[in-house]
Symmetry: C2
Subunit: 326 residues, 2 copies
Amino acid sequence: MRIVITGGAGFLGSRLARRLLERNTLTDACGVEREIHQILLLDVAPPTGAIGDPRIAYQTGDLADPATIERAFAAGADSVFHMAAVVSGQAEADFDVGMRINLDATRLLLERCRKLGRAPRLVFASSLAVFGGPLPDPVPDDAPLMPQASYGTQKAIGELLVYDMTRKGFIDGRSLRLPTVTVRPGTPNRAASSFASGIVREPLAGVDADCPVAPTTRMWVSSPRTVVDNLIIGHEAPASAFTHSRSVNVPGLCVGVGEMVEALREVAGDGVAKHVHWSYDAAIDRIVSTWPAGFAPSLGHALGMRGDDDFRSIIRAYIADDMPRN
Amino acid sequence: MRIVITGGAGFLGSRLARRLLERNTLTDACGVEREIHQILLLDVAPPTGAIGDPRIAYQTGDLADPATIERAFAAGADSVFHMAAVVSGQAEADFDVGMRINLDATRLLLERCRKLGRAPRLVFASSLAVFGGPLPDPVPDDAPLMPQASYGTQKAIGELLVYDMTRKGFIDGRSLRLPTVTVRPGTPNRAASSFASGIVREPLAGVDADCPVAPTTRMWVSSPRTVVDNLIIGHEAPASAFTHSRSVNVPGLCVGVGEMVEALREVAGDGVAKHVHWSYDAAIDRIVSTWPAGFAPSLGHALGMRGDDDFRSIIRAYIADDMPRN
């Protein structure tokens, strides 16, 4: 079995790849569990730390360039995890770049999968940002798509394409609406939600961190560990688990940003938590405040997905898995 | 004021143009009522009967070709009615043609409007086909988009783009989800709903007509007269009438297909109605049966839109407005 992971050099893509290597098998679109022979990690930039495993291959290229996609799929693909995206803050600031990667590259990828002849199983990393506007709390699985920023719009369009092309038999797709993933290691990115990692990661490294939204702002979050498990569960779900859509609200944890800082204080002490400074940023708050924070993810739970227990365990998972050791 | 109508050589586009000529004014994106100097009717084919008015211009070309769009907008545009589409049955039978016209051409058009500098008011003719799956009856304005065929998928994507590009200030868009328009004059087309016109039009001409769905199938329909009025009302609505979306469920009439034939019998007699034959077609029924038939269109009514009173009046409107005289 050959797997293609777009955005594969990124944090979540690499982590997914390592988890797949540990498993060594995955279920194909026919429902047959097969051994993994190759995982291609396709990304715009090379990885910061390469995975030393003969089953891993790397390719660097522009995902919106048909030649890049062609090269990645020349050896076929049984499964695809489409993780690559221009993040929310950047997609809002640069409409054209967002459309090119989040829409055009997604469509190129889906069309290339269609040409494989044998419909591959495809997991599309969507986002809770497809929601917005007035919504029930918690948000039910069948809430209307009403994105209030360009990132969510592009993800919603991707979901519609994934479902229609699945219905046509071109792919066996499933769109997973991921919670905000925290704590991400490394440096801040241009996601509007980047602070949700920064306010834990930086203080733990002894560095000050600005929090651009109010302590009362609630978010729907997940640890990287849990998201990777849920991505694989979404891949393994049989086609019969879905009815009139291929979209899944992925379980997460509803937590206030103030509570996140309190959890940091409990886990790491006051000396760490005092590095968080409340510094309101209207542009970020405008995007984040349109995202719902509480979900009732029935289908996700029925498929076996789960959320994290509490934010303290998310912080402890970061310390155990990802925090740089000095 | 210069207006561009795509699909302008078609039945609905031409009719809209004639109604606009009668009015002679339209409100621009600044809310100012202005005199109409030119209406460009852009379509893939020339009109069957040209409108003899100096304010009307025609252009023929492939809408998915940037050169066609460029030429149509070279003289600017204050308002756009984007009516052109590959109809539902054809979009389902030929996925690529549907994507090319219903998605790619729509995007080209929106991008060209963005380049005008001064955001034009734009009416996108969407469809009730954006809905599908389990839905409340009647369907509320905020029902989830869950299209179950490629036509509705492409229209839903168009709506998402119209809203996001409106939010960004590129256009002043509004997406009107039109009911099935009946009675259309002329010959059958490849819309799955084509029979809804055929079962009235052909019998009135003394010709047999096959009805591919069950008499109990209900549909949400509108006469051409009423749809044209509602398109103009949608155009004239102030931007302040909208909140988290630019999509409007346009009022219509909920009617059973059996009742449509009974109405024909009442209006035109048994000798006419007996030309309708029930001849089930699974491919058409599969598409039509995914469309909801009853709506509670609150926003549409609030804007001043209305549905037809009953199907008899729709038949009488056809006889008065469109039925060929021998």
